[in-house]
């Protein structure tokens, strides 16, 4: 017997221990939603004169909620029971009191739901939290906003174990407080509307709702503004209820104004510092885009492109939303500047709306006001907010991708392409450089998705060109947005020093490789008397290094502006480099041409070959100096931008070792090239140099065409069906577009053709000379012909 008792107790204890923690939500909590509906239907029935039905519905709601009330915390239980008693009394008798009681009961339940969900989430009880959230409200969706989902996702994450209880509780609280604060403000507006129309029951309901929502956000208000402010808000809400009872529009409006004044700058769920910085960044980024879009859409006071005006309006609305979100913080820092900023943003809204209706203000007007707003922002912002501005790039990119998808769906491919260029342009402005340093594989995937594809996913360029608005475009946009979300997190997080070192070394090495190959190949061939050609080449390279250093200093202060023009500057310098390289190649292959047909150049060349002073006015010297400069500066500029961004990200101590490593590798390649070429016989060395330079030229042409396409100076015509790995573009400058491939093939054909033509000319000349000169004089001529080669050979031997 005793053993059995022990066994039963043990079993009971085990069962209790194994049983899941019981949910804290009251049994039947979900029926609270039905009760809400019944009370609403009761109010409607009363309004329609169906008094008996109204009473029945109130009684039904009372039964439901009476079962729930005892399980609620005492203050809430009392409030709910008082409201139910009022509803019972008023049903079928007094519409205003019924409306008031209904609103009070409902907001009391909402308060219980929030409190219960947060408490149970803190305990890690996802199931209980989910139960509490069955009774909640959502923000009314608008054109730009949707109902928040943070609370739902937080509970799901808590259940899956991917979110910690405290974090989940915080998300739930933030989502619900944000919702009920919005509802409070809506209730105040609706109260004014109801009073103007003379709808007394509706007015009573809205006033009670306002009080109920205020009670929900009350603790947050108290903690932010203090006890006396909270008491003042309480008094203002009392005043609103009294005014609602009078139902005089003027009194109601005055009471609502009192409450609204006390709520100015209040945010029930304050943004955490990271979110504040993000909103601040969005405000900055979107504001800068407003005058750009507006400028594209007007000429004088005439609207030329209505679409651009709509874009400007969208960006301005986003500015207003971001400003509203951080205005509490800004008001705390400088109320006057914040109010001026708010007025400018509101004024821009009116100006843009007028432009949308066909009455455009000059673009300078919009620019001037935007500039003033940016000045104010510069004074208002914390330093951390200024740094976070680039994080808002991802929001702008996301918005542009949304517009791309929307435009594609309605078949407006011009707008879709514009949106694509805009999205990529923002990415290029600053994010790309940072991402390349800290997450190059992620950077490659994003580049691929923007352009020519990544794995099985087609790139946006191809899809827009193809006018493919089907599932593939949607998938690509979604894939790109997913990658960009990851990039946003990566850019915002810290990276390991090892990754920064290796990635910066890789980029410096790759960017420097082209320049070093050109310089090394040429220098290898400059032996003997030709050794003096090294000076202008190295001088040009040296100037380029100095210029790159100066660029670094300038970029320290004006990185944003510089980055905007980075790609265009690179494009221009690249064209110069191609031109100079073609010239040098031409000179390289056509030595016989110079010496045979241009007496002046020939004489100068002889002077040079005999060791005369190399004058910097000679074409070859200038050409070599220009080649040295353009080759190095082209790469130097882009590398500086990258290093600037990476230094901001990871610090100079992490970046410098990587740079040194990359430079060492680059110089090693240069030294190796010279070493290998020196071991070749002279003629073969010349040929090897020519081949190497031609190869570099082809790469240069490919990357330059790509750069022109990025900045929109050349069209993009993808080669359908051609998929190339990322390294083909990164290392060989080969991109799957007709423009790029044709240009590269053309460059190679031009160079090889020039060489073959020169060889043919030489062969023809030899034949002419041999056939015209008597046999006795042939050896002397032959010696003269061979003179340059012999001179070169002698130099090689030295």
């Amino acid at each position: 017997m005793r053993r059995s008792a022990i066994l039963v107790v043990a079993l009971a204890a085990a069962t209790l221990a194994a049983a899941p923690a019981s949910a804290s939500a009251p049994v039947g909590w979900a029926e609270a939603v039905d009760a809400r509906r019944d009370l609403g239907a009761a109010q409607t029935a009363f309004a329609l004169g169906e008094t008996e039905r109204s009473r029945e519905l109130v009684a039904r709601a009372d039964t439901t909620l009476a079962g729930i009330a005892p399980t609620l915390p005492a203050p809430l239980r009392r409030e709910l029971l008082v409201a139910l008693a009022q509803a019972n009394t008023a049903a079928g008798v007094d519409a205003r009191t019924l409306a008031d009681a209904r609103a009070t009961a409902w907001t009391t339940l909402l308060r219980a739901g929030l409190t219960g969900a947060v408490a149970d989430a803190r305990k890690g009880d996802a199931a209980a939290a989910r139960q509490w959230l069955l009774v909640r409200e959502f923000r009314a969706p608008t054109r730009f906003t949707r109902a928040g989902t943070d609370a739902t996702l937080a509970v799901t994450a808590l259940a899956l174990g991917t979110a910690r209880p405290q974090a989940a509780a915080r998300s739930i609280r933030t989502d619900l407080l944000d919702t009920y604060e919005a509802k409070l403000r809506t209730a105040l507006d609706d109260a004014v509307g109801a009073s103007r129309r003379g709808f007394s029951a509706r007015l009573a309901e809205e006033a009670a709702l306002a009080r109920g929502y205020a009670a929900i956000v009350g603790p947050s208000y108290r903690s932010q503004r203090g006890e006396s402010a909270a008491a003042e808000l309480e008094r203002a809400l009392d005043g609103l209820e009294r005014a609602a009872a009078l139902a005089t529009p003027a009194a109601v409006e005055a009471a609502v104004d009192d409450v609204a004044r006390l709520l100015e700058g209040f945010r029930a769920a304050p943004l955490d510092p990271a979110e504040q910085a993000r909103r601040a960044g969005q405000l900055d980024r979107f504001l800068r885009l407003v005058p750009i879009e507006y400028d594209r859409g007007v000429e004088g006071t005439r609207v030329t492109l209505a679409f651009e005006i709509q874009e400007a309006i969208s960006f301005r609305d986003a500015v207003a939303t971001a400003l509203a979100d951080i205005s509490p913080e800004l008001l705390a820092r400088d109320p006057a500047a914040t109010r001026e900023l708010t007025a400018i943003v509101a004024g821009l809204g009116m100006t843009l709306d007028a432009a949308g209706a066909g009455r455009a203000a000059p673009a300078e007007n919009v620019r001037a006001r935007t500039d003033r707003a940016l000045e104010l922002i510069d004074g208002l912002y914390l330093d951390s907010w200024k740094e976070a501005a680039s994080g808002a790039d991802f929001d702008v990119i996301a918005a542009s991708l949304d517009r791309l998808a929307a435009a594609a769906k309605v078949g407006n491919w011009g707008r879709a392409e514009q949106a694509r260029l805009e999205a990529y342009g923002i990415f290029e402005l600053g994010t790309e450089q940072r991402l390349r340093g800290i997450a190059p594989s992620l950077f490659r995937r994003i580049e691929g998705l923007f352009w020519y594809g990544d794995g099985d996913q087609a790139g946006l360029v191809q899809l827009v060109k193809r006018k493919d608005a089907g599932a593939e475009l949607e998938e690509s946009v979604t894939a790109l947005q997913t990658e960009l979300e990851q990039a946003a997190q990566r850019v915002g997080s810290s990276s390991s020093t090892g990754a920064v070192i290796s990635n910066s070394a890789i980029v410096v090495f790759r960017e420097g490789l082209e320049a070093v190959l050109i310089l090394a190949a040429l220098m290898a061939s400059m032996v003997g008397p030709a050794r003096r050609y090294r000076r202008p080449l190295l001088a040009g390279a040296g100037f380029a290094l100095v210029a790159s250093a100066i660029t670094w200093v300038i970029a320290q202060t004006v990185l944003g502006s510089l980055a905007r023009y980075g790609e265009k500057l690179e494009a221009i310098v690249s064209v110069v480099a191609i031109g100079v390289l073609l010239l040098i190649l031409n000179w390289f292959y056509h030595r016989v041409y110079w010496s045979e047909h241009l007496a002046d150049f020939h004489k100068r060349k002889q002077r040079i070959l005999r060791g005369s002073h190399v004058g910097f006015i000679s074409a070859q010297v200038l050409g070599l100096a220009a080649l040295g400069f353009s080759s190095v500066y082209r790469e130097g500029f882009e590398t500086v931008l990258f290093l600037q961004a990476l230094t901001l990200e990871a610090g100079i101590l992490a970046v410098l070792p990587g740079v040194m490593l990359g430079l060492a590798a680059t110089l090693a390649v240069g030294g190796l090239t010279i070493l290998l070429e020196r071991k070749l016989p002279h003629r073969k060395m010349l040929i090897a140099t020519g081949i190497l330079m031609t190869w570099v030229l082809v790469i240069l042409v490919g990357t330059t065409v790509q750069t022109f396409q990025v900045v929109g100076w050349l069209p993009v015509t993808p080669i359908e069906g051609l998929q190339l790995p990322y390294w083909a573009g990164a290392w060989l400058g080969v991109y799957p577009t007709w423009e790029g491939v044709s240009a590269q093939v053309g460059a190679a054909v031009f160079v090889v053709g020039s060489y073959l033509a020169a060889e043919q000319m030489r062969a023809r000349k030899r034949r002419r000379i041999v056939s015209s000169v008597p046999v006795t004089t042939a050896p002397a001529v032959a010696r003269r012909d061979r003179e340059p080669e012999l001179a070169g050979s002698k130099a090689s031997a030295r």
Binding site: P141, R146, Q489, L675, L676
Partner: protein, 369 residues
């Protein structure tokens, strides 16, 4: 010929190794994300086939009705042209014929209206089709609201151009029932010859009516073509539900200002022939079809949630249907009652839309802008 030394080979190898090295942060794989793994088993778009066939059935009917409407408008135009657009003379000489044509046109219009309203939820809520809602039913005129104005102009055969004149349903309603006096002929439109002009008697401007009817037929046909080419996605369906269900407030507001509530005091030029309640009922019915298409997907993840949302949507639909029945039975609601009803419907609609938003978030389905 050169020989590559071991040192050279070592340098080459080191450089190749360096080139191949480097990558994302070592912590990459361990980075936690804020995305929540969905518990859904995936979205089966076959469930949405019913939505598409519902849509195309209605767009086909709408196309037929607008063709008929255009033919009647052309007939009316021919009559007006025969009297050099002298509407007083037209009525004097051709009253019977004119009355018959306009009566048939009104009947056709009333028939066409629910064909569209029953799919308005799908059309307006699907971004790739939404422009047709602007054109047919929701767009304003340039004067009213440039931001939501229709994207077309009407070019009349006499050279006049009506720039962005408003959506085609409202435009043609206004002309046929006289709520757009600026688009009617200059004559007393006593169509039944009883000596008085009552509501609904109007002589439309024949050129405008013909042009509007032609545009109506054209855009209806385009919508039908687009609908047949449409491949509904889960995102489309969820977006339609989230965007359209909470429009109760706006539609009830229009109902409140219409003749059905305000009587003769109404000064709006639309929603005076077919009650907006009827439109709302049709829209919600269409959205119920959409919800039926996504319900299996939601239920696979959250059966209880799917049941709750389905029930509340049904109750909203029943609420609207009951009001419509009462109105059709002759009941006239006061403005305050209409306001209360609208507020109630709005609260219900927001609750359903909010729940759908949560389901979409858990399933990782995008609600489009």
């Amino acid at each position: 010929m050169t020989r590559t030394t071991p040192l050279t080979a070592a340098i080459v190898a080191a450089i190749v190794l360096l080139a191949g090295c480097g990558g994302d942060d070592a912590n990459d794989a361990s980075q936690t994300t804020t995305a929540v793994e969905t518990t859904s088993g995936g979205i089966d778009t076959r469930d949405l086939a019913g939505v598409k066939s519902y849509l195309t059935d209605h767009t086909a009917q709408l196309t037929g009705a607008t063709e008929e409407f255009a033919a009647l408008a052309e007939e009316y135009h021919d009559l007006a042209k025969s009297v050099d657009y002298d509407y007083a003379r037209l009525l004097a000489e051709q009253r019977e014929e004119v009355s018959r044509i306009l009566e048939d046109a009104k009947k056709t219009w009333i028939e066409a209206n629910p064909y569209y309203e029953q799919v308005e939820g799908v059309v307006a809520g699907t971004p790739s089709l939404a422009e047709y809602d602007i054109i047919l039913d929701a767009g304003s005129s340039k004067e009213e609201d440039p931001e939501s104005a229709v994207p077309f102009d009407l070019k009349l055969s006499d050279g006049r151009v009506l720039e962005q004149p408003g959506n085609l349903f409202n435009l043609t309603e206004g002309m046929l029932w006289g709520t757009r006096p600026d688009l009617t002929g200059q004559a007393e439109p006593d169509l039944d010859g009883d000596g008085k002009v009552e509501f609904g008697e109007a002589l439309p401007d024949a050129l405008v009516l013909a042009s509007a009817a032609e545009a109506f037929e054209r855009y209806a046909a385009e919508l039908d073509t687009e609908a047949r080419a449409w491949g509904p996605t889960a995102s489309d369906a969820f977006t339609a539900l989230v965007v359209m269900i909470p429009t109760m407030s706006e539609y009830f507001g229009q109902w409140k200002e219409s003749r059905f509530v305000q009587g003769d005091a109404a000064d709006g030029d639309a929603f005076n022939v077919v009650s907006r309640l009827s439109d709302i009922n049709d829209i919600i019915s269409g959205l119920e079809v959409v919800y039926d298409g996504v319900e299996p997907t939601i239920a696979a993840d959250d059966q209880a949630g799917a049941d709750q949302t389905g029930t509340e949507l049904e109750e909203l639909s029943a609420f609207i249907a009951d009001l419509r029945r009462q109105e059709e039975d002759g009941r006239r609601f006061t403005p305050e009652q209409a306001d209360q009803l609208g507020s109630d419907a709005q609260a219900r609609g927001e609750a359903v839309a909010g729940q759908v938003s949560q389901h979409a978030a858990k399933l990782g389905i995008e609600i489009q802008q």
